[in-house]
């Protein structure tokens, strides 16, 4: 266990020493919040709460996608990675350390959104709703972590960057994160239940608001989780087979 913490700590140090990467993680969701949500929701607490919830999902899904997708594929290209495998530890501490480190940046990505939501909008959530929201966040972040790992282990870093960038906007917009629940343009409402972003958002909306989650979207989120778990496992094993067998 202490080795997991060691790996997490040094991976965190590696990332935090490039401040612009950290600011990038925090800036985009916060800016979306400040420029789109704050002016448009006015003094409507329900709309502000849903929009803040959407932005939290946006922040966590994109952070998972980029953090794991690009981080893993860049590390795979570095000779440091096989060197670490010669140390007396299996592959697990490095992997677990990576997930822990990812969680820290996940928190960093949505914390500003919550602060802006609380300070600059009428959004409200009770402690129970916040706790439920945390559960929704975890359930929603898992498939995006797996998607990031799939991309990171399957693709070289330049391709991983391009694929992550290609995916993140359609996922966010197509999942209905840019609009109030049920208020997205017609075609988005048609496709969004089939995207994992919508399922994650449905859970989050239900946690903090008075809303029953859409069944199709939640079922699809579960299916995405299983499919992406298989994808990540496949990509990880393939990478192991190529570099360490």
């Amino acid at each position: 266990m202490s080795l997991v913490m060691t790996h997490a700590r040094y991976q965190f140090l590696e990332t935090i020493r490039i401040p612009v990467a950290v600011i990038g993680t925090m800036f985009f969701p916060a800016a979306s919040m400040a420029f789109f949500v704050v002016p448009s929701t006015g003094d409507n607490p329900v709309a502000a709460t849903y929009a803040t919830a959407s932005m939290v999902v946006f922040a966590t899904s994109t952070t998972c996608l980029f953090q794991y997708g690009i981080g893993v594929s860049e590390d795979r290209a570095q000779p440091w990675d096989p060197y670490v495998r010669t140390l007396p530890a299996g592959a697990f501490p490095r992997f677990a350390g990576r997930i822990l480190n990812g969680l820290v940046f996940l928190v960093l990505s949505f914390a500003p959104v919550l602060v802006i939501g609380a300070v600059a909008t009428e959004a409200t959530a009770s402690p129970v709703e916040l706790a439920l929201g945390l559960g929704a966040l975890v359930a929603g972040a898992v498939p995006f972590t797996l998607l990031g790992l799939t991309i990171g282990y399957a693709l070289p870093s330049k391709a991983a960057l391009a694929v992550a960038q290609l995916l993140f906007f359609p996922l966010a917009f197509g999942g209905g994160l840019m609009s109030a629940p049920g208020q997205a343009p017609g075609w988005v409402e048609v496709i969004s239940p089939y995207l994992p972003t919508r399922g994650a958002a449905e859970l989050m909306w239900a946690a903090v608001g008075d809303r029953t989650p859409d069944r199709t979207a939640v079922l699809m989120l579960a299916i995405w989780t299983v499919v992406l778990a298989a994808g990540a496992t496949w990509a990880y094993r393939r990478d192991e087979g190529r570099r360490f067998s």
Binding site: S2, Y10, Q78, P79, W80, Y83, T86
Partner: protein
Amino acid sequence: MPEPLARAIEVSRRYGDVLALDRLSLDVGDGEIVGLLGPNGAGKSTLLNLLVGLRRPTAGRVELFGGHPRDPVRRKQIGVTPQETGLPPTLRVGEVVDFVAAHYPDPVDRDELLTRFGIEDLRRRQTGGLSGGQKRRLAVALAFVGRPRLVLLDEPTTGLDVSARRALWEAIRAFEGSVLLTSHYLEEIEELADRVVVIGQGRVLADGTVAAVRGLVALRRVSVQATTLPPLAGVVSMTHDNGRTHLMTADSDQLVRELVGTGAPFSDLEIHAASLEEAFLTLTTET
């Protein structure tokens, strides 16, 4: 005889169509300093990667301290410097040492280690800002962090200038455990190793003391303008091109004396020290 620290037993390793190792066997005994010498692509790095558990053999078996190299417990007693220096650029030198040290039960004191390798002044520097030679010294130092019984160094001094190379040799020589190192510099192997294993095309071509192997690989090339020559003693190999004849020999003085003595016509005599590449080629074609 005590159990060897590392063993390769009839090991073959194939990458696609390329056979990198061909039923190679090698033991590294306790206290031995073994130099693996061979041209690029001979299979030296592949052998090291098998011994540290990064790769699996296609056939045959590798052992580390009598067990499987993939078992982390076995790897507690080794230290590794890979051929390529890859250090996390944003971490400081001291942090990299601490990170590696965290994997071992009884690591060497950080400052003591850095001093031993002459990089104590760099402790606070990020590795991304180090020169190539400084990075290489750190990469070699990391192999010694865990007080290993066996260190495996893959071309430890590649890319270093003469003084840095000497300093690193000093530090490696001061180590009291066993060493398996690869190099394509005969000089480096002579400085460090007591036993030399010459590898070519995935096989052991020669295995012996530095002096014995030096006699095998330290060849001279005697070239003359002549199309035919009488048979001469001490010629390891003979090639012809453009009307010249090239003779590889361990003793060029004796060969020239003998050549002159035969009275055979020749002109434009040239003698060169054969490069290691040429020597390897001779060894490979001979066997």
